[in-house]
Assembly symmetry: C2
Homo-oligomer: 453 residues x 2
Amino acid sequence: MQDIKNNIRSYVEARREQMLEDLIRLCRIPSTAQNPAALSAAASEVAAALASCGASPRIFEIEGGAPIVYGEIGSGERTLLVYNHYDVQPADPLDLWRTDPFTPTIEGDAFYCRGASDNKGNFMARVHAVRALQAATGKLPVRIKFLIEGEEETSSAHLGAFVREHRELLKADGCLWECSWKDPRGRPILTCGLKGLCYVELRARGARHDMHSSYAAIVPNPAWRLVWALATLLDSDYRITIPGWTDEIRPPDAAASRALDRVQFDEEAFRTLHGVHEFVRRLSGRELVRQFLSCPTVTICGLRAGYTGEGAKTVLPAEAVAKLDFRLVPDMTPKKLLAALRRHLDRRGFRDIEIKEFGGVMPAATSCDDRLVRAAAAAVRMTAGVEPIIYPVAPWSGPLYDVCGVLGIPSVAFGVGHADSCDHAPNENISMDDYFEGVRCMAAFLGEYAAIP
Amino acid sequence: MQDIKNNIRSYVEARREQMLEDLIRLCRIPSTAQNPAALSAAASEVAAALASCGASPRIFEIEGGAPIVYGEIGSGERTLLVYNHYDVQPADPLDLWRTDPFTPTIEGDAFYCRGASDNKGNFMARVHAVRALQAATGKLPVRIKFLIEGEEETSSAHLGAFVREHRELLKADGCLWECSWKDPRGRPILTCGLKGLCYVELRARGARHDMHSSYAAIVPNPAWRLVWALATLLDSDYRITIPGWTDEIRPPDAAASRALDRVQFDEEAFRTLHGVHEFVRRLSGRELVRQFLSCPTVTICGLRAGYTGEGAKTVLPAEAVAKLDFRLVPDMTPKKLLAALRRHLDRRGFRDIEIKEFGGVMPAATSCDDRLVRAAAAAVRMTAGVEPIIYPVAPWSGPLYDVCGVLGIPSVAFGVGHADSCDHAPNENISMDDYFEGVRCMAAFLGEYAAIP
């Protein structure tokens, strides 16, 4: 075992340039939902990467969506499904990037590019781990199935149907989910589940066109309508005030509670890193951890009305828009919640507020005691040399239910991000050391998962 | 008198092309506050126009501001100050313009360009009226002083000091204010006063950078802070809820009340024109007119936070900004109100909300019985052939107090706009017929004002 570990370490050291070049090639593709050509190019690049590790790729074209790439390699008693995605969030706000968002830029140990952490760095580390393990041992101890989609950042509209349609192809004993991060002290976080998500746009309309603001004395202002409607959704303690919203929440079980109590969330480091003066409701300690990992949220992700440039413009806007994401914990369901939102707005006198739905994903969670989780924890200990932090449900979201819920398999996630990776934000980056460590961790995990009773 | 009227009509008919060319040349200059070079160019063009009517122009350079152009011509017992401005509002939102905002475009009787109505068309009509009257009668019956500034759309930061410094130069018996419009039925509106204005930006700050929205469970969201703060300023009946805000309001006097009761506000035509389903509080009739002309307002002119593009982006914004304009009626004062706003936010728990002030203007009003108003009404009757509508206080704003309040003179306004001129909004336009009528109305007014007892 120690030999294999050393062989892999040597292999990785010797091939750092190749591993970086492959990552740069994939990151350079601006594969946002707004750019279908780039999505296709990224799918081809993913297929090429899978071919490079011997996992003969298949590209499934998806009508009205981005291609899904599948690849399979290895043998053994257990089969591991590996899920990643090649699409990325838009790069806005562009003016806050220190580098061009789609020109991979290396500064010291840092690798900057949109998608470096979410999720291309993770995918590429896993591909190289498969190559490394084969080179070091001559074989793979488990069967690996790669499932790489291109619509994760826009709610994975076609993934659920694809999984249902290809149950046999995707059959596996467990799933390695897309990614994870280190905390501000550098301790890797393992996640056993994900919050769900509903994303909606609320829109209020006023006059047919923007008007001189002097008319605001008598003409209803959609920006005010929107503000008043929003203010009914969340109180100033950040508690959701939509009737029925929390009815379906299932409290953490005993294993999850134990894991939550062991979570070391470094408040000071987090606050310093992100420039946060205080947490919501001035929470700290266990209360803060539970608020972070076990509670639903409603977030204003965007507001837009009227004049938003420099200086003063006296205009009465014709419309106002808010983008909201709702994070859900097990067992909340998007469909019921969206109905509750509509009902609430109607009852509070906001029938005029339009709701546009951008899809939703279900929350999902695996037991913190599962063999898959234990194998991942062992791999992290072995490569990072520290005890991982385990999140029963991670506060972010993804189509975990659409894959593992539908297939009825457990899942776990670890990855190459760090606490300041700025996913979904300007200056997204990973540490190159973490990237290479991620290759070694994945290789160790494959060995552990094959062997664990 | 009838002769003069006919001479002027013939003169205007014969010189329509010239009058349009002069307007096109001025409108083509994108003289927004964001473009200092264009402001200078517009000031030069204004000076050239004044020179063309014999009013030897002087350009006063203003440190840190846009030039003020002054010109003087004529003689007689009475002196009329004419106030206009050559700066314009920004053209955003650009995608809603049917034509390029700074390429004057003629379609049928309509003349499209940012600034056509507010305020370049009015200025140019007045210059041509002076030329017409001189051509038709060989002289001017009053002394005219033109005061043309370039910072009206950004609260006229330097005008008040300029007027105080040049009291003697600007000394006059009355002032013709910048502009007015016809109502949806084509009845010219005369205005005897203006609401005041405070313009502020409210800003909430969160983390140092935009974050992945999963952190919104624990990291305060500035967009929510802003929404909650805004919701404390105005109730859903559009009544301002800032303590002390309405304390200084002086109710309309007898003459103003009579004028208000005579205002014919065509609700149906207005609603059809602007696509307005209903007025605030479902008001109509006299109540609606008083709400429009005699009440203060607070208007969200702009909202900006996080991601505002197409589709979904799950981001926790680092900051949120609202642009607000407050319209004031006599005798509200911006300074006291801004202090009340700060006090209110502090008391409601929003010390973190920053207020950036963009200057304010005082409300001001002239008696509806003033000789100046009677002369203007007579001129409108004579040229438009209908009884004007008189607004004791117009719902829009301008630095009326900084000029007429400081100089202690009455003011009145009429102009070339119509009810769908879209001032401050996309597709700003005037009717060319109104422009030429505006030339004749100004010429008639000069005669009336010279003669009225």
